[in-house]
Symmetry: C2
Subunit: 248 residues, 2 copies
């Protein structure tokens, strides 16, 4: 595979190569599942060092655009997993000491817009999934662990009903970081009735296609999260911790 | 380094190992810059296969928690770069065909909350940087390319003034995806005066600590983006394209 590389340019050749291959993948010329040419072939056909090819390939592997089976040399084009890539943000956010307040604020930004969009774009499947979530929530009023899981699911279903894949992806790392502490809130306070009421009001507004009402109730609900924190004597300015259930 | 692994558990051993090492890194027991034990040592001390160790290490490398210099075997602990990890989302979002509308909606969610938070948390440095951005914007009224760059900078400075690192990170991939097309809008329409007015109003509200006003003007400004699209006869439901300036 002969690529258009300029060894006299400022941009390092391995970056040019990575960019050229990335362009072929993004344009669909190289489809997910396709076998990549061998390192040696890429090096000789483009008159570059094998170590340059290796560096470009490593960068594409890190982006999830190339994949090789463990211990094998054959490389394949792959479609990066948005969900997995998004969740990788959890680690550096924790290492940088972001606080619950920063996370809470990001949820307060995304979820009301998601609720608004859900009211505008709702369909029967999304409504049925939300109904089902709420009836399971009603049955779990005395089970704080189940309620937290159902709450996470409810908010994910709202993002799904919003039909916005960007918002769906961006929420994942913040949801992962936010909820472990919410468990403490749910266990120590009697917050289940308030949670159920808010979810019911949000769903009702979405059903009626009332975007403003859906948004207003979502804002109320997320402000309640914060009050719950304070009532449970948790400090919202504490750094977030790495969720225990997460797997490397 | 002897780790607590259970070869009879359901979770694959390489995942257990990756998780154990990740925990040591996140807890600070293994600090960024520290040398990692060799593969062979990890394998023999834990009574596991070297290929298992290699798989765990690959997973941590992909998360940016381990780093090795090109062509060398020595592994070091590293702190993943939030900005770089966040920007990696651009690729799968483009490959999945997300639309400008989805991206626009995510900006409409994040930036008004950022403006609100900036009004509540402003400090002299942030205000000076925003002032400076606006005076350069005033000087660039006839230069659409410069205006787009200054607009990107303005919105990043707002997120900075909001003092919210989660919102700062989440905005990056959507800003990267959104602005290339905004260039078309700025070039074809006479949108520069409206943009300057909106930025001035937002900064004024932030200076006065008027969070509601800052938010309201940001919403207006972002709604204007969308109108600009429509006036420029661009279709907001078209899939986003990979930004040309981006490097692999």
């Amino acid at each position: 595979m002969k690529l258009d590389l300029d060894t006299t340019a400022d941009l390092p050749v391995f970056r040019q190569l990575a960019l050229a291959l990335q362009t072929k993948i993004l344009s669909g010329e190289l489809q997910p599942g396709a076998r990549m040419p061998a390192e040696t072939a890429l090096a000789s056909e483009n008159g570059i060092h094998r170590s340059t090819v290796r560096e470009a390939i490593r960068s594409l592997e890190q982006q999830g655009l190339l994949y090789r089976e463990e211990g094998k040399r054959k490389l394949f084009v792959s479609r990066p997993d948005t969900e997995e890539l998004s969740r990788r943000l959890v680690t550096p956010l924790v290492m940088n000491g972001v606080t619950f307040e920063e996370i809470w604020e990001a949820i307060r930004a995304l979820d009301p817009v998601a609720a608004e969009a859900a009211a505008n774009r709702r369909n029967a499947d999304n409504l049925a999934a939300l109904e089902d979530n709420i009836s399971r929530t009603r049955a779990a009023m005395d089970d704080p662990d189940a309620l937290v899981k159902l709450d996470i699911e409810f908010h994910e279903l709202i993002a799904l009903a919003a039909n916005n894949r960007v918002i769906q992806s961006l929420r994942l790392p913040i949801s992962d970081l936010f909820y472990p502490s919410f468990q403490t809130v749910m266990t120590s306070l009697n917050a289940s009735e308030r949670l159920l009421t808010a979810h019911e009001k949000i769903l009702q507004a979405i059903k009626w296609g009332d975007a403003d009402e859906a948004k207003a109730w979502m804002i109320k609900h997320i402000n309640d999260f914060r009050k719950g924190y304070e009532l449970a004597s948790l400090d919202i300015t504490d750094p977030a911790v790495f969720p225990k259930a997460r797997q490397a």
